[in-house]
Amino acid sequence: MLSTFTHTLPILQQESNKTWMPRLAFAPQNTAPRGDTLVVIFLRGAADVLNMVLPHGEDAYYQMRPTLGIPRPDDSSAKKADRAIDLDGFFGFHPSMQALLESWSSKQLAIIHACGAPDESRSHFKAMELMERGVDDERGPASGWIGRHLATLNTGNSSPLRAVGMGTRPQRSLSGGVPVSALRSIADFHLGGDARLLQQMRAALSTVYDGDVLGQETLSMMDTLESLDPSAYSAAHSATYPASEFGLALKQTAMLIKAEVGLEVSAIDVGGWDTHFAQGSVLGLMPNLMKDLAEGLAAFHADMQEHMQNLTVVTMSEFGRRASENGSLGTDHGHGSMMMVMGGHVNGGKVHGEWPGLRDGQMIGPGDLAVTTDYRDVLSEVIMQRLNNQAVDAIFPDYSPRGIGLLT
């Protein structure tokens, strides 16, 4: 019996073929077994990467950051705990990133510095939009790069949890491919009520969502997640996730991977990186964000040790911040950023990319780190080598990625 509420109701009937209805943008081009589970972490607000992985070998860094600069690893005038943690003689971790040393030393964490997008608007919103769409300007496709990856690769996976946007709104990068649901909390993903009531609610919902892709997906997610017990989850190798939203998102990602419910992509946002004011040098606002990020990633790395061969974790941000600190102990919008890639097949323990330098004439615009590696070079390599998808020309239209030797 036909009773789809999207079609029988007059208000929607006339609109059912219009462009605003969500629809699949692409027919899958390739069939291939699924590759790694991809976790994409977006640091919203333009993270100050020059204080995350800092060039302690650059005098200019210390000249431009008299109060925010992190002391050199061998600076005996500073307490040891306040100094940068040396990575390769030139770059060092901010001390709050210490938790990442283990994955760095085990060569499962790579850094791509001076990495980013060509856009120079220094607008968060324009930069994020272009980056999540994977395009150079507004004329490109409206869908997101992850959406196009999922849409161009048929892995035979019809799970409602093939791609998940952690939080309350799926990331723009996920749009335009397969249906994607937001997932804030596995524990809260249920209708409540006793079995009898649940049956009634479910009956009403499956009737009104008959023929509606997203509604059916939500019902099916509800069934899948019902079998998981988040309160009973215990991470492997005594890993402890931070008690933050980010920690929860990673822990839930781990839970879904281990439960083998068909997760291929998990997108996670971490906000708060727009640090114009009092960002803190060794301690404070931004060091707290870095600590959360590093401890979250470290916990995930430990918890997922047995799964690392089938996992790639990428962190990115829309652009970097001005090399010179501003007068309010913060930093203004800049250009070049940094990406981190973690996984079992990463050419890790290494800072990739050409370092453009921070002296006059080496920087661009009002004194910003230049971009020497396009973020799409990094993502293309991951997509082709770890996700089994060769359709990068459809995923990043009008861009020819360069190989950067990021993966082994």
Partner: protein
């Protein structure tokens, strides 16, 4: 201070849920003349238009619209000062911080004083915002409050915004929402909450901070492609040095500190700005108000909010011309957009707050509007959007988070929300014939504009009954199913 219990009693008395049959006259005063025996079905497009002009049309609004037509309805709503809002105002009386000055609100949250409560200003503002959306008769005005609160978004958790936003909401947004854009922008630029949120309170001559200067052009006026450069951002930031917030006497008020201001000459958008202290940035604000990019940017955003995600260019152009001609008269611009745009309005996916308010209004629920946790799960907690672009205003970002909407729909209809009460049987009593199918038709035309197609209705009823619902359970589950349905998510 009223207790929560008293408050609820008051709420339900004033909203006069039909539960209080003995209060029929009060009920009539609020929801219109109930002598109509049935909820008259509404043409689908009219229902869409009314959904665009209200937070979900109550019966009185349906009746008024049918009586006077679109043009007169818009005129009446635009002349919001002439619409008495006594009942709604009464609901807000417990929220004392709404009328306080910044230093008074600060004192109410300061641990030096007895009975302090740091969460109070934000909670009161959030509750008041929802109560107004649900109960105010000035629906179009409240829609514009929501629009400008997004446009001039402030994250209430940043620094002292937790108490300063209350003042911004009252003195900037609510004072100028249907006035002149120039006054709106002007007061926003002098608003301590905005200066704190976008870091201008630390913008000093020795080290300018670009944050506010950039968003003033990118998000508040010209738009990202509106013709400014990185250099304009840096120069405007210098004009704005010294615009800050008082920290001692009359703390939380705006102050211009000459000694922190960079007096050197600046050049913004091709104009030389000579040293004149506070007036430099004010001159730029006047330039921004009359800039054609601003007119286009505001017209586009209004058209997107009221007409469609992808509104017709011709209407945007026309509204932008009106904006320029009238020097930013918001009523005139909005009138153009609504008059020309409503016939072309296209469905938009309800944002979470609108989903919630429409469900509450259309079921005539009584509520204290302490519903922040539901909004949090749906993704639109008011005044909690961290970045200055405000909550997205197109359909797509909102379409993929159904579960919390379903949770709300069932909780509402099953009366499981503390402080909120729906009275479905009593609501239907007004026109009930005692036949379930006819009650369902009444209910669906109430919630969706017109009754369900008969087959769909019977199928839904059968499904719910065969899942074991008793006669008393059937209608609430069905109503929740309709509220949770795809059709109800669109407006």
């Amino acid at each position: 201070m009223l207790s929560r219990r008293d408050f609820l009693k008051l709420t339900s008395l004033i909203t006069a849920s039909a539960a209080l049959a003995s209060c029929a006259p009060v009920y009539r005063r609020l929801t219109g003349d109930l002598t109509t025996s049935r909820w008259t079905p509404l043409d689908a497009h009219d229902f869409l238009v009314l959904n665009r002009l209200t937070f979900g049309p109550r019966l009185e609004e349906r009746a008024r619209f049918a009586e006077i037509g679109l043009q007169a309805y818009i005129e009446e709503q635009l002349a919001f000062e002439s619409i008495s809002d006594f009942e709604c105002d009464l609901l807000l009386t417990p929220f004392k911080t709404l009328q306080m000055e910044a230093n008074e609100i600060e004192a109410a949250t300061n641990q030096l004083f007895d009975g302090y409560d740091r969460q109070r200003p934000a909670n009161e503002l959030r509750q008041a915002t929802l109560l107004r959306q649900i109960y105010s008769k000035r629906q179009l005005y409240e829609l514009m409050i929501e629009f400008w609160s997004d446009h001039f978004n402030i994250f209430i958790e940043k620094g002292n915004c937790f108490y300063l936003k209350t003042v911004d909401d009252r003195d900037v947004i609510r004072t100028h929402a249907l006035g002149s854009f120039r006054d709106l922008l002007w007061t926003s630029a002098h608003s301590p909450a905005m200066l704190v949120y976008l870091d201008n309170q630390v913008n000093e001559k020795s080290h300018p901070n670009e944050n506010y200067a950039r968003e003033l052009m990118e998000l508040h006026t010209l738009g990202v492609d509106g013709g400014y450069t990185q250099n304009d951002v840096m120069e405007l930031a210098r004009c704005l040095t010294g615009w800050t917030v008082k920290e001692h006497f009359w703390l939380g008020d705006f102050v211009f500190k000459e000694d922190l201001h960079d007096p050197r000459e600046k050049r913004v958008l091709g104009h030389t700005i000579r040293a004149s202290g506070q007036q430099e940035a004010e001159d730029v604000i006047e330039m921004l108000v009359t800039h054609p990019s601003t007119a286009r940017f505001i017209a586009t955003k209004l058209a997107r909010r009221f007409i469609a995600d992808d509104p017709p260019q011709a209407i945007i152009e026309k509204a932008a011309q009106v904006f320029l001609r009238t020097g930013g008269d918001i009523k005139a611009v909005l009138n153009t957009i609504l008059l020309d745009g409503m016939p072309l309005a296209r469905p938009k996916y309800k944002r979470p707050a609108n989903f919630m308010t429409s469900a509450l209004r259309l079921t005539n629920a009584g509520t204290d509007a302490a519903l922040h946790d539901y909004l949090l799960r749906m993704g639109q907690p008011y005044f909690n959007f961290p970045t200055p672009d405000g909550y997205p205003d197109v359909s797509e970002p909102w379409q993929n988070n159904l579960m919390p909407r379903w949770q709300f729909a069932f909780a509402l209809m099953r009366n499981e929300i503390e402080g909120t009460k729906s009275h479905l049987p009593e609501l239907l009593d007004v026109s009930s014939t005692g036949i379930l199918e006819e009650d369902v038709d009444t209910l669906t035309s109430l919630l969706l504009g017109s009754p369900l197609e008969r087959n769909a209705r019977d199928h839904l009823l059968t499904t719910i009954r065969s899942a074991g619902a008793s006669p008393e359970e059937t209608l609430p589950i069905l109503a929740a199913g309709i509220i949770a349905s795809p059709a109800f998510q669109w407006r």
